[in-house]
């Protein structure tokens, strides 16, 4: 009985929080026009999957990521611009959904920090060069 239980446990498949429905039409199917597919791919790489939050929708196997890829491809095929699709998603999920952070009060440190560090480095270098010359 105990062995049977262990055997059954080994056979048990992990439960996924996914439906049994097929993926959305354009989730895993490329667009026919290579230029549009490239545009869609570039956009998908910079959009965050809202289920598996560390991945882009291009990388993720989550069903919702598939639905988001289908949405991106459908809209690109219809001639919508990448920026307009990104803005549509940001209006719904916030800046969080985009891996290309816009300049705002919260993201300003991301943009300013490298410049500030470069300035500090230049100041340190200048100070040490000056010392060497005088000695």
């Amino acid at each position: 009985m105990k062995w049977l239980a262990i055997l059954l446990l080994a056979l048990a498949a992990p439960a996924f929080a996914d439906s049994n429905q097929p993926p959305a039409p354009l989730a895993n199917v490329q667009l026919k026009d290579p230029a549009k597919e490239a545009q869609a791919q570039a956009l998908m790489l910079t959009l965050r999957c809202v289920v598996c939050q560390g991945q882009s929708i291009a990388d993720s196997n989550a069903e919702m990521a598939g639905d988001m890829r289908s949405l991106v491809r459908t809209r690109i095929a219809a001639g919508e611009s990448s920026q307009s699709i990104r803005d549509w998603l940001i209006a719904r999920y916030g800046d969080y959904v985009s891996y290309d952070p816009p300049l705002s009060a919260t993201t300003a440190p991301l943009w300013i920090a490298p410049l500030a560090l470069l300035a500090i480095g230049a100041w340190l270098a200048r100070a040490s060069f000056k010392r060497r010359r005088s000695s």
Binding site: N20, Q21, A24, S70, L71, Y93
Partner: protein
Amino acid sequence: MTRPLIWVPFLGAIALFAVIAWGLFRPADRVIHSALVGQKLPAFTLPPIVPGKPGLSTAAFATGKPRLLNVFASWCIPCIAEAPQLLKLQQAGVEIDAVAIRDTPAAIADFLARNGDPYRAIGDDQASAVQLALGSAGVPETFVIDGQGRIVQQHVGDIREEEVPGLIAAVRNAR
């Protein structure tokens, strides 16, 4: 280098460790909230999924009566846990409309037979299109919609028993 400046790297390291410790002991809130709260419900039209129950479109919302919009699925386990709470809300006079994500008529009929049916209408959302339009990141989620069709509040995850009175009050206050 002047004497006080010698302490700058040390203090910098202390500050860095403080930030790391703060991040470890107070992890960030990973719940994704819809940015549409406070705005009008996006326009959509969904066909019915089970016979005898209407589908769902935006027109059903701006009727002057506040209501709940429940995003659910038969394959979602927390949705089963939430079902008794939705029935309680319905008994309290709250009207509940639903969007079924990636589901089949048979599975929904079975889900309603097992867990009770608190819904006035259920829309069939095959590719999560309405879910994405709502800024919803999973199932179940519940939106409080006021009488003008504006999203007043979003509840992420299953509704617990202790959260029912708060939702009833939220619907009452959403004129």
